[in-house]
Symmetry: C2
Subunit: 195 residues, 2 copies
């Protein structure tokens, strides 16, 4: 019975994520989610407290938690600065290809029309980037003038702007190339001055 | 009479901009714009074709046209790279302090709920930045590996992400400081290698 409830919750969440990613929050109704999932509208209210509730659950499931972060972040066989760059491509790929992540990002962008607080991943990303930059500085891989927390904050905001504007202006197929342009413009400033 | 029509249009536009900047597109009605401006609701329909029309007019008035760009951009007494940096602060100041620009940016962010195409300033900014970078490269102020159009595209997207996320996460009072952090992280990559 608990397994069945879990399966219902998951199928509602994935149907809602598809719809939110395709057509946005305002244009998606509880009836649409019911029709796409093959479950009743009542199930949306029972399991998620309605449309706001399921929207917040979609954001929390992937976009705002970022389970991908954990494996890359902890992989100590890879130098910290390389891990930071790899993480940025992981996130870009999720934003491009994973429907639940895409829905989360779109819902976050549309948060002003959602009558519930919509969580975001920026504090989490900034903490991860700060630690990797601090490790990289200790290892002599970034220059000693870099202040990890301040640089991480700047990188996260610029990165997110790059991803979201690239999708709006050109679509997601070029995102990897644009991210590479951005790292080419950013890495020389991070590198040790003497090398 | 034409002057009077102009004054009515301007007062409607400024009232609408205040309301859109404060509470967003969805929460603002034609009645609100009428009440704030002291004009009739009929005037909103007559002069602007209703709420979508006045929203698009607000975006076009400042955010998407950027009259500030012209004076800075053309000031040949200032080296091109300095002009580019100064332009970024001008834009950040307008996004922080000018109600019509702020409203335009918010409406652009909320464009998915507006039933009309909402123009954006990114092509204009990218063209301006491309020309300034090309001039700077000719003058030996940026390194010869910099490709102006590609770099301009990257800078505009990162810059806009920095401005919008900073406002969301910390408010506008720190925007100048965050922009300075970003330039400190970006300028070393632009500078000539040998200097």
């Amino acid at each position: 019975m608990q397994e069945r409830a879990k399966a219902t919750r998951r199928s509602l969440l994935e149907a809602a994520a598809q719809l939110f990613a395709e057509q946005g929050y305002a244009a998606t109704s509880v009836n649409d989610i019911s029709a796409r999932s093959g479950r009743t509208s009542g199930a949306v209210y029972f399991h998620y407290d309605g449309k706001e509730g399921i929207a917040v659950a979609v954001v929390e499931d992937r976009f705002a938690t970022w389970s991908q972060l954990a494996a890359r972040y902890a992989d100590e066989t890879v130098p910290p600065l390389e891990r930071l760059v790899a993480l940025s491509y992981d996130i870009a790929h999720a934003l491009t290809r994973d429907p639940v992540t895409r829905a989360g990002a779109r819902l976050w962008a549309e948060r002003t029309v959602i009558k519930a607080p919509v969580p975001d991943p920026f504090a989490l990303w900034t903490t991860a980037a700060t630690r990797l930059l601090a490790q990289a500085r200790l290892a002599g891989q970034v220059n000693e003038h870099i202040r990890p927390a301040r640089t991480a904050r700047t990188l996260v905001r610029a990165f997110f702007g790059l991803c979201t504007l690239t999708e709006v202006l050109e679509g997601t197929t070029v995102l990897d190339d644009r991210l590479t342009d951005w790292w080419h413009l950013t890495l020389p400033s991070l590198r040790p001055r003497s090398s």
